[in-house]
Symmetry: C2
C-alpha cells in the first residue's frame, strides 16, 4: 500500500490532520513530514503520531519529499508554489483548496509547462477547523474533484488519483473553471447567504430573540460558524461566480415577493413543492437519507 | 395530574399526535377525543392508543369537550373557530400555529369579547409531518409562546399555561404582533431564503451537481423539505413582516457584494467574524452545543 517514500503535508488542521491520520494508519507513505508556521500545532501532530518529522521552515524540508499535499487556506497556496519552484521544482504536489481557478492560474504563471501540480478539492469540510477537529476516515466515500493543469502528465494525475483512492474517496476530473462554478452554487453562495442572513439577524434581533429559534434555524445557519479568515479568502477567490449568482438570486427573491404580494396561494404551493423536489433530488444524489 | 375531563385535538399530525402521546402518557386528561378530516389518520391514532374516541365531523364531538387544541395548518384555524362559536361557544381552546396576528384578529372578529381562546405556538417543529412523525416528549424543554386575547381571563391563560407546563415546556406570554415579528426573523424568513435558494439551484444546476454538495449544504437546506401547503399558508399569513425583512436583507446582500467588489479582505473578515459571533450568541441562548 506504500505509494510514497516521504509525503509532506503543509497545514495540519482539519483537512491536513485528517489526511495525516489516514496516511499513517493505511501506510500510504513510509515517512510523513509535517509543515506549519505554528510550532505548537506541529508538536501536537507529532505527539498524536500523525507525522514523523516536522519543519516550521518549509524550504528546509521540501527537498526530501516525493509528494506534497498543501492544506492551507487558498490565499497562501501561491506562496508555497513559489518555494516549491525554488527548492524542488519537479516535486509532484496537490492542494485541497475549495477554489481552483485562481490556484490553477497561479500554478501556470509560476511553473509554466514544467510544473508537476495536480489540484484537488475533497468535498469533506466542516464548520470546525484546527488539528483537534482532525479525524480518521474523513474522506471515505467523499467526492474529490481533481483539476489537472493542461500540461499535467497522465502519470502525475494517476498518482494523485491513487492517493485519494487510498483514502477511500471517489474521484472526478474537472476543469478548474467548471469546478468553481459548481462550488459557487453548492457551497460558496450558501455560505454568503447564511452570512448575510446572520448579519440581518444581528441588526433585527432583540436581546432574547435567539431563544425563539428552533432546530431548523440551528441547522440552516450552522455554516455561519465557519472560520472568517478562511472563508473571506474563498469568497474573494470565487467572487466572479458569486456576482452572477447574486444577481440571479435577487430575481428569485423578487419572484417570491411578487407571489406573496399577489396572494397567489396556488402558485406559491407549486413553487414550494418544486423546491422540495429539488432538495429531494440533491439528497438522493448525495446518498443522504 | 388530570387537568381536563375531555381534551380534544384537531389535526393528528406531528404536533397534534405528539401532544396526544404526552396527554395520554402523563394522564393530563381523563379522555382524549381526536378530530381530523381523514378517517385513516384517526383510525391510526386510535390504534396507536393516542386517542380514546374520534370524529371526522367536528360539530358532533365538540360539545363534549372542556379543552381543545387546534393543530391544523394556520389557514383553517378560522373555520374551527366558527364551529366552536356555533356549537360550544364558551369552550376554552388554544392552537399551535406558527403565525399569531391573523389568528388573534380572526378570534376577535368571531368571538368579540366573549371568546375563550388563548393562542399558543410551541417552537418544536420539524421538516417532517404527519402522524408517523409524532413522538413523545416533543415539547419537553421547548419554548411555547402564549398570545392571549385582550379579553382572555387570567384563569384561561393560566389553564393553557398549565397544559404546556405539564408537557414540560417553558412558556412566555407575548403580544401576537411581536410574536409574528420575531418568528419572521427566526423561522419564516429563513424558510423563504432556503426556498429561494433551492429555486436558484434548480435553475443553475446540471444533472449531477447534487453530488458535489457537502454536509453544510445538506443542513442549510434541510428546511426546504418542509410541506409546501403548510408553509405557503405561513408565509402568506406573515407576509408583511417578510416584506420588511426582504428589503433589509437586500441591503445586507448589497453590502457583501460591495465588499467583494472592492476586494476589501480586512473588512470582509471583520464582517464574517461578526456573523460567527451572532451565530454563537444564538446557539448559547438556545442551549445548543
Amino acid at each position: 500500500m506504500e505509494k510514497f517514500k516521504n509525503l509532506g503535508i503543509v497545514g495540519i488542521g482539519l483537512i491536513g490532520g485528517s489526511i495525516a491520520a489516514d496516511v499513517k494508519k493505511k501506510g500510504i507513505a513510509g515517512y510523513v513530514t509535517g509543515f506549519s508556521r505554528r510550532l505548537s500545532t506541529l508538536k501536537k501532530a507529532k505527539d498524536k503520531g500523525l507525522i514523523d518529522e516536522y519543519f516550521t521552515d518549509f524550504t528546509a524540508g521540501v527537498k526530501e519529499l516525493d509528494f506534497l499535499v498543501i492544506c492551507t487556506p487558498v490565499g497562501i497556496v501561491e506562496e508555497y508554489m513559489r518555494k516549491i519552484r525554488a527548492y524542488n521544482s519537479r516535486l509532484l504536489f496537490t492542494d485541497t483548496a475549495s477554489v481552483k481557478g485562481e490556484i490553477v492560474r497561479r500554478a501556470l504563471e509560476i511553473f509554466g509547462e514544467k510544473g508537476n501540480f495536480v489540484g484537488s478539492h475533497p468535498i469533506a469540510g466542516s464548520e470546525k477547523n484546527g488539528i483537534d477537529a482532525a479525524q480518521e476516515n474523513l474522506f471515505k466515500g467523499k467526492e474529490v474533484i481533481i483539476t489537472p493543469l493542461p500540461f499535467s502528465s497522465s502519470e502525475s494525475v494517476e498518482k494523485v488519483k491513487s492517493f485519494w483512492r487510498a483514502l477511500g474517496s471517489k474521484m472526478i476530473i474537472m476543469d478548474a473553471e467548471e469546478h468553481d462554478r459548481i462550488m459557487a452554487l453548492t457551497s460558496h453562495f450558501p455560505h454568503l447567504l447564511v452570512y448575510a442572513f446572520l448579519s440581518l439577524f444581528g441588526q433585527e434581533s432583540g436581546k432574547e430573540t435567539g431563544r425563539f429559534t428552533g432546530s431548523g434555524f440551528t441547522d440552516t445557519t450552522r455554516i455561519g460558524k465557519s472560520n472568517g479568515k478562511l472563508w473571506s479568502e474563498i469568497l474573494l477567490s470565487n467572487r466572479e461566480n458569486l456576482f452572477v449568482l447574486l444577481s440571479r438570486f435577487r430575481n428569485c427573491l423578487d419572484e417570491f415577493e411578487g407571489i406573496l404580494k399577489g396572494y397567489d396561494k396556488k402558485k406559491l404551493i407549486v413553487k414550494l413543492e418544486n423546491c422540495r423536489k429539488i432538495k429531494g433530488k440533491i439528497d438522493d444524489q448525495k446518498g443522504n437519507i
